[in-house]
């Protein structure tokens, strides 16, 4: 038996696993940021005063690594504004006033897909990005050209973050779409093996996926231990196939593609209906939320409106997250819009929002013992204090995926992830400087 990578046992808090998603009515205004993916910002093609319908293109992909963006409501473009996103940087955004009618754009029709190129083009036109949270443009990930390089596809359904159940609901409610997605991959990408990897704390979803596997010999369900971060890309590749993705390489370099189950279901539904990515099922939960549930939200809806739809707050909120509590990002304002790759929004009350007081490192070694990548966060902290960049490089701080296991487990409550981020930034800066110096020397 292969040894799986280490991690931490986080509380599951899957309070909403039984909550069938409800579609929320469109809010009066939506604000759609033009950066909802990794890559070039999308280029706006509408102007204030324009009328738009649901699914209508409002921004084109800004480059090969990019994705188009579509309107999630019908109504009138009010202004091209900017919003502060979770990284603290303002990004351009399109503000649309909804007419409440949700008129579907006449341009919506199923794409013609009959070979690899038309399949990739359709995925590109759909606006799909990694819906598990990463937001990497799906068309770029699938555009392998030489499909013989693909040894297997892993449908990432681990959903290892606490609270989040939106992928669980996809597996239960949209199993047909996932099955169809698998067939599309087999047909157009010539995939010979598909693993669906799920953490074992989702019995209903596992049963649902096993029904797919029963009808499709290519598909195999792999039940994984509930050990965070099971859904980390390199983690799930290792725990299912035993392969190690080397530093600086992509999963495809070891013959693997990892795709989130909701992303796959979306691609299948796009090819069936032609409706691009304009809404997202998200889990609304957290200790401050009155009635946690899964909600299908038009992209660009302010988080505050979604909380309102869930009955508001039972305790005064003090922290809002996009994503789960392990890797999710705290937002600066509750009016931050829901974007494509959100899978949850959480609200914490004062007691659960505050960061515990940091004490001295006792060298217990828990941070490195629980690091899936066998890194040494405590040592990075000491190297950082000594400004020892060479040591940070030698100890591979750059490999850190910021999963949060070290900070979670640290009995001294040292903000290790924050230190790792600082370490990574320091290394990047140092290597850039060395490169320019080397360039100048030539």
């Amino acid at each position: 038996m292969r040894r799986i990578l280490r991690g931490v046992h986080v509380p599951h808090s899957k309070n909403t696993a039984g909550s069938v998603p409800t579609r929320m009515p469109p809010p009066r205004f939506i604000t759609i940021p033009l950066v909802m993916h990794i890559g070039a910002p999308s280029v706006c093609v509408v102007k204030p005063g324009d009328h738009v319908d649901v699914g209508q293109l409002i921004a084109e992909a800004g480059g090969y690594v990019g994705a188009p963006i579509h309107s999630s409501v019908s109504g009138t473009v009010r202004e091209i504004t900017s919003v502060m996103m979770t990284n603290g940087k303002p990004v351009p955004a399109v503000k649309i006033e909804s007419d409440g009618l949700m008129t579907v754009s006449p341009s919506i029709k199923p794409p013609v897909v009959n070979d690899y190129d038309s399949f990739i083009a359709a995925v590109r036109a759909s606006g799909a990005v990694g819906l598990g949270g990463a937001g990497f443009p799906t068309s770029v990930k699938l555009d392998i050209k030489d499909t013989s390089r693909i040894k297997e596809v892993i449908v990432n359904s681990a959903e290892c973050e606490p609270y989040i159940t939106s992928d669980t609901r996809t597996m239960i409610d949209r199993a047909d779409d996932i099955a169809e997605g698998c067939r599309l991959l087999e047909k157009y990408l010539n995939v010979k093996k598909i693993y669906i990897g799920i953490e074992k704390n989702k019995p209903e979803a596992i049963a649902s996926m096993r029904r797919i596997a029963a009808n499709d010999p290519v598909v195999e369900v792999r039940v994984l231990p509930s050990l965070y971060p099971q859904g980390g890309e390199k983690v799930i590749i290792h725990n299912i196939t035993g392969k190690v993705v080397p530093e600086g390489k992509l999963p495809i370099d070891v013959g693997t593609i990892v795709i989130n189950c909701t992303t796959l279901a979306f691609i299948a539904s796009y090819i069936k209906t032609g409706m691009p990515l304009v809404e997202k099922c998200i889990t609304v939960d957290g200790p401050a939320v009155a009635s946690p549930k899964n909600v299908i939200v038009p992209i660009g809806t302010a988080m505050s409106e979604v909380f309102e739809f869930c009955g508001g707050f039972k305790k005064a909120p003090a922290k809002f997250l996009q994503g789960g509590p392990m890797m999710g990002l705290a937002v600066f304002s509750p009016d931050t819009p829901v974007i494509k790759n959100n899978n949850a929004i959480l609200a914490f009350d004062k007691d659960t929002a505050s960061k515990p007081k940091e004490t001295s490192c006792i060298r217990c070694g828990q941070c490195s013992a629980h690091c899936p990548y066998k890194l040494d966060p405590a040592e990075y902290g000491r190297a950082l204090k000594a400004n020892d960049v060479e040591k940070l490089i030698r100890l591979k701080v750059n490999l850190c995926m910021e999963c949060g296991c070290c900070s979670y487990i640290c009995p001294a409550r040292i903000p290790l992830v924050q230190q790792n981020k600082m370490g990574k930034a320091l290394v990047a800066e140092y290597q850039k400087k060395k490169k320019t110096e080397a360039g100048a020397a030539k």
């Binding site: 931490v8 922290k319 809002f320 001295s360 060298r363 490195s368 040494d376 487990i409 009995p411 001294a412």
Partner: protein, 310 residues
């Protein structure tokens, strides 16, 4: 909604365990040994335990006050140090010497090096060694359990007997239960093993160091024909292997490092016991390995997952 929001780097949830709860677990794990100390060595043992567990945090409190640091005694680590020191002293040690030991452990070995986590040597062991050198008469005295148990043993401590002194070895059962001469908390193998099992179950320590330490001593003394079963239950071996060699700050953090550390402790213990002047070598062995700890950590660095050497 107008109140300031908390914005911080992920993660946003934490395990319940903190430094204080870990130290509390160590104290709980030492309770059986403390109880055995009082049972076998009577009220003098209770006085020593009380003196050290009160004076150690007191010294830390005073030190923090003097150097204007935040008060850190709430983490209970000074209580652990005091308790371990007391359990490593024989009942013949006067209270003032024990309190002096606490001062050495806390002020010199711990606080002057930066406090919890920054000390390079185990405070309780270092203090015991200092007392041993300063007051050999009281610290190495062969003190035996109270009258209730004295009929079962006489003469020298088991280790001294194995080293060739006059006397008879206690039965293995008495060794296991703790009815033998020695420091108050080190004699009961049963009580120490219960504490060790608790620490393992609570995942405060891992098996690597204690198993490597004890099995090294067992195998080497077996090869040397030196009563291996008595060896592993006598002196401070079990309390050292379970509670002192697993001290976080002064032992390696990697699994292989812990094994190397335990092996080194075992090897040095046997060398001192068999060929050294002192009958007991656990304290010196651990202290010496404490000094090697940073090097062991460096030698046993793990290869990061997917890491490519430059």
């Amino acid at each position: 909604m107008n109140e300031m929001l908390t914005v911080n780097v992920s993660p946003h949830i934490y395990t319940k365990r903190n430094t204080t709860s870990i130290m509390l677990d160590v104290v709980i794990a030492l309770l059986p040994a403390s109880a055995a100390a009082v049972i076998f060595f009577g009220w003098r043992a209770a006085v020593l335990i009380a003196a050290c567990t009160v004076s150690a945090p007191l010294f830390e409190f005073i030190f923090d006050k003097i150097v204007k640091k935040d008060n850190t005694i709430g983490d209970l680590s000074a209580v652990v140090t005091g308790l371990l020191l007391a359990l490593n002293l024989p009942a013949s040690v006067p209270v003032w010497q024990a309190v002096l030991g606490s001062a050495v452990a806390i002020i010199i070995v711990k606080c002057l090096f930066g406090g919890i986590g920054d000390n390079f040597a185990n405070p309780a062991i270092t203090a015991r060694v200092v007392l041993l050198l300063a007051f050999p008469g009281t610290v190495t005295a062969a003190v035996f359990p109270t009258e209730k148990f004295t009929d079962i043993i006489s003469g020298a401590t088991p280790l001294a007997v194995i080293s060739g002194q006059e006397g008879t070895l206690p039965s293995l059962l008495n060794m296991f239960l703790g009815a033998r001469g020695g420091a108050i908390g080190e004699t009961s193998a049963l009580a120490l093993l219960i504490g060790g099992a608790y620490l393992l179950a609570r995942r405060v320590i891992t098996w690597h160091t204690p198993v490597a330490f004890v099995s090294t001593v067992f195998i080497l003394t077996l090869l040397l024909g030196k009563e291996p079963l008595y060896q592993i239950m006598s002196g401070g071996l079990l309390i050292g292997a379970i509670f002192m060699a697993t001290d976080y700050a002064t032992s390696p953090t990697t699994e292989w490092g812990k094994i190397v550390f335990g092996f080194g402790c075992g090897l040095l213990t046997v060398i001192i016991r068999v060929w050294g002047t002192y009958p007991e070598g656990v304290s010196f062995a651990i202290l010496f390995m404490n000094i090697l700890c940073p090097y062991i950590n460096r030698w046993t660095e793990r290869k990061p997952f997917g890491g490519v050497p430059q």
